[in-house]
């Protein structure tokens, strides 16, 4: 076994880090930072750089100075930032390290990142109360002050240590690129040289943060900390975990949601070389083997009879028909202003349209998986951990343990897009049931790696919910937009989940209507209402940008239709209606200007080209996209270019903002041509032939423009997604005169 991946060493590291810290509150702002102290050298030597979360690389030097829960400085001059949020591609580890390093005045090259263990007392998401987790594009926003203060506290302690050692005033000491210096005496020292002394200094009660004009890393291009490991094969994902004696589990899942195992015959499966055991669990039948391929072969050799008496058996077409029927009557009011009925009664003209959105899979490149090992004092889990506090509590319940007995190792996630933030901890619970089922049957209680094959992942549910939207606009005799009705029908993500108590109010699931109920446009009479069917048993979940993944489309595509009906330019109408929303207006203006909105798009004779725009706020960030498309004679749409403008507050790392917007555009475009569909309750797609992420040839040119800002930073992992498809649909309408209102796009209607 590769020493670097030796799990027993990693496990000891996690143990030390969890138990050798005393806790003392020392900063304002709700953050309970902990005060560490020098670890015994022998123990510290074993502490791995990659560990408790094990997402880092290389081995650490002895720990010498740990001023708080987020920072450790080694005698070898290494600066380790403990990242409380999951790195799933969005650049969080780099961003969090940037905040600490900025205020510490560290040299970026000496900074390393390590994933935090599960410990909500120290590592909670400040926007989520006492809960640790990553999501909602909150990582940088909630850490903005907390981690800069953590860095500043470390810096102050280093400075005080130097002042004491050199017998000079702390105010005369400068810190730059990881070096402390005293100009008058010419003395200098690295962080590493002062680590032992700094650990003896008092933790400052207050710290002063830098004036933004003095930032050296924030707003500049701090290079990603995970680039090296992710380009040489050494980055460690859950799929890569190997433990001594570990078994791989592949599970036969029922073909319909809600079906259960009636009986099974495992004789052939057990004959497959490498298969060790076959067990029934609530989620299906698990085959355990020495390696993945044997487990797969074993599963394929199983014969299972399913009990479908409680299974959900509707198809997508029937679900959609029901939703359209429901949309005929008013739903629960999500927003009401003015007198909408009166506005429509007085309207000179009414525009109406409806929009359909299918189920969508997250389809992360790393299918869902996790590793669980029962230990003498509890259980240890390896996972691309996104919801530590919830996962710990739910796994503890299944395994008959206390939450603190469940130790979580946060590894890199090979994408998530919301999937690993499982509201009911689905795949982890499945793994826990397997571990429970083999306890006492397989000697030594080996660790189990649950591996979902691509088909398990794609058919496993937890989709972006299918939605139907119906919209109407009232235009009065003076040509003014006076009324707006928006009705949505779709399953709730939150009802029935642990989040219901916090986020569902008066029967309205906030994430069903986000982006619709907070429509920014100045329309005096407006009604948004919602139907939430409760008899559709398809598991649904947040999918990158959540409610905005459908509401941005219906609102922005419909407003374009309204603009056309009013004979107004789509940008001009939006700006007229956004007088009270300057941040929306600013990104819209910037994107339009950079795209050359007022200059006609060049097209060869006979070519159908068009430009479309959309603007949308999600997660407190504002994004406008201008799309340029070419529509072929057979109706095929080629998205040539997206010009984007973004306001996400202070840009912490502009290059990463561009990367997230580029990626968000590609992620959003995938939904042009893809859907998860059900027939008789069975998911029709199983692999990338049926549901295909965008390929490189379909990726447009992308230009991202960032609005300068000194406001607090907001998220960027998700906000690039919502305005992509409406901008494309609006561009197609400009090119062809035809409106695409349903996803995925049926391009046959565009053929000439």
């Amino acid at each position: 076994m590769n020493a670097k991946l030796n799990p027993s060493v990693l496990a000891e590291g996690a143990d030390l880090s969890l138990h050798n810290l005393s806790r003392r509150r020392f900063l304002h702002g709700g953050a309970a930072l902990t005060l560490g102290f020098v670890l015994p050298a022998a123990a510290a030597d074993k502490l791995p750089a990659a560990g408790p979360g094990k997402a880092g690389d290389g081995l650490a030097a002895a720990v010498k100075f740990e001023p708080n829960a987020f920072l450790r400085i080694g005698a070898d001059n290494s600066v380790t930032v403990i990242a409380k949020h999951l790195e799933m591609g969005q650049g969080t580890h780099t961003g969090l390290a940037t905040l600490v390093a900025e205020e510490l005045d560290a040299d970026w090259a000496q900074v390393r990142v390590e994933g935090a263990p599960a410990d909500a007392a120290r590592y909670n998401n400040l926007f989520w109360g006492p809960s640790q987790g990553t999501g909602g594009s909150t990582a940088m926003a909630n850490s903005w002050e907390q981690l800069r203060k953590a860095g500043a506290a470390g810096r102050a302690m280093l400075v005080n240590a130097a002042a004491r050692k050199w017998g000079v005033a702390a105010g005369d000491i400068a810190v730059s690129n990881g070096v402390l210096s005293h100009a008058a005496s010419g003395r200098k020292a690295s962080f590493g040289e002062l680590a032992v002394e700094a650990a003896k200094e008092a933790v400052p009660a207050e710290v002063r943060l830098k004036d933004p004009k003095d930032f050296k890393l924030i707003g500049k291009h701090a290079k990603r900390k995970d680039s090296a490991a992710k380009t040489n094969g050494s980055a460690r994902f859950t799929q890569d975990v190997h433990l001594p004696g570990m078994l791989v589990a592949v599970v036969a899942h029922p073909p319909q949601f809600g079906a259960t195992v009636k009986s099974f015959d495992d004789r052939k499966a057990r004959q497959v070389k490498g298969v060790v055991d076959v067990v029934a669990i609530p989620q299906g039948v698990a085959v355990l083997a020495r390696d993945t391929w044997s487990a797969k072969k074993g599963r394929d050799a199983l014969s299972v009879v399913w009990d479908d008496s409680a299974a959900f058996k509707l198809g997508s077409a029937e679900i959609l028909a029901r939703y359209k029927e429901m949309a005929r009557t008013p739903g629960k009011i999500a927003r009401q202003q003015g007198n909408t009925d009166a506005a429509f009664a007085a309207a000179a003209r009414v525009v109406e349209a409806s929009y359909d959105f299918p189920y969508l899979a997250h389809a992360a490149m790393e299918p869902m998986n996790c590793v669980i090992q029962l230990t003498a004092d509890g259980a240890e889990v390896w996972n691309g951990e996104q919801f530590q506090t919830i996962d710990q509590a739910v796994l503890a319940k299944v395994l008959g343990l206390k939450p603190e007995q469940v130790r979580l190792n946060m590894l890199y996630a090979g994408g998530s897009f919301g999937r690993r933030a499982s509201k009911d901890v689905d795949y982890l619970v499945e793994a826990a049931h397997i571990v429970k089922a083999i306890k006492g049957r397989v000697p030594g209680n080996p660790a189990v790696k649950l591996v979902w094959l691509r088909e398990d992942d794609m058919r496993g549910g937890y989709y972006r919910p299918l939605f139907h939207h119906a919209l109407q606009a009232a235009i009065d005799a003076n040509g003014r937009l006076t009324g707006w009705r928006h009705r949505l029908v779709g399953q709730s993500i939150l009802i029935g989940s642990p989040f219901e108590a916090f986020l569902v109010k008066d029967g309205i699931d906030g994430v069903s209507v986000e982006g619709a109920s907070n429509l920014p446009y100045a329309i005096p009479n407006l009604t948004v209402d919602l139907h939430t069917p409760t008899d559709i048993k398809v598991p649904v979940l947040w999918w990158r940008s959540v409610g905005s993944s459908h509401t941005a489309f219906s609102t922005e595509a419909f407003l374009d239709e309204v603009a056309a009906a009013m004979g107004k330019d789509p940008v001009a109408l939006r700006l007229e209606l956004l007088a009270e929303h300057p941040r929306h207006a600013a990104v819209l203006r910037l994107a339009a200007e950079k795209a050359g909105w007022t200059t006609p798009l060049a097209a060869k004779p006979g070519e159908r080209r068009g430009r479309g725009v959309a603007v949308h706020e999600s997660f407190n960030s504002y994004v406008a996209h201008v799309a340029e498309v070419t529509v072929a004679r057979d109706g095929t749409i080629k998205v040539d270019r997206i010009v984007s403008a973004v306001d996400c507050g202070t840009p912490i790392n502009p290059d990463n903002i561009r990367a997230q917007v580029e990626g968000g555009i590609g992620f959003g475009l995938c939904a042009m041509n893809n859907a998860i569909t059900l027939k008789d309750g069975k998911v029709e797609q199983g692999n990338f032939d049926g549901f295909a992420p965008l390929r490189i040839g379909d990726m447009p040119q992308v230009e991202v423009h960032i609005v300068p800002s000194q406001k607090a930073p907001t998220g960027i992992g998700e906000p690039g997604v919502p305005p992509v498809l409406p901008a494309v649909a609006n561009a197609v309408a400009a090119a062809t005169g035809k409106r695409l209102r349903d996803l995925p796009f049926d391009t046959r209607a565009l053929a000439v």
């Binding site: 090296a228 992710k230 990338f688 990726m699």
Partner: protein
Amino acid sequence: MIKLNVNGKAVNVDVAPDTPLLWALRDTLQLTGTKYGCGQAMCGACTVHLDGEPTRSCVLPVSAAVGRRITTIEAVDSGKVGHAVQEAWRKLDVVQCGYCQSGQIMSAVALLSHNRKPSDADIDAAMSGNLCRCATYVRIRAAIHEAAKTLA
């Protein structure tokens, strides 16, 4: 026992002959840089080089790799092109989640080994079998051009 040549070393793997090379690399040899994504040669996450040619290891029985030179991401920087590609990927911060990037790099190295000055169209054609759900494609194109520049 099946004898393989992996990254310049002779190794023995004790697996059934129908086992895909991917799982022999990952589970038996613990060369986990090569990834599982689809099992059907549709996503390219499992791309390795077989005698220098990009090959989807998830559908290649290990018995078919006997007597061939197998190169994985772990050894790709030992070649001049591989090193240039890795450096370009790092310079432009191509990666996001990173799970598909081993396969992307293996395909890019194969492209540049045959074509030192690929156009965007050449890149799109050579890389069309490698999916990236994070859609890092803008940077993949740019990094391949960047590597081509350093190799020129």
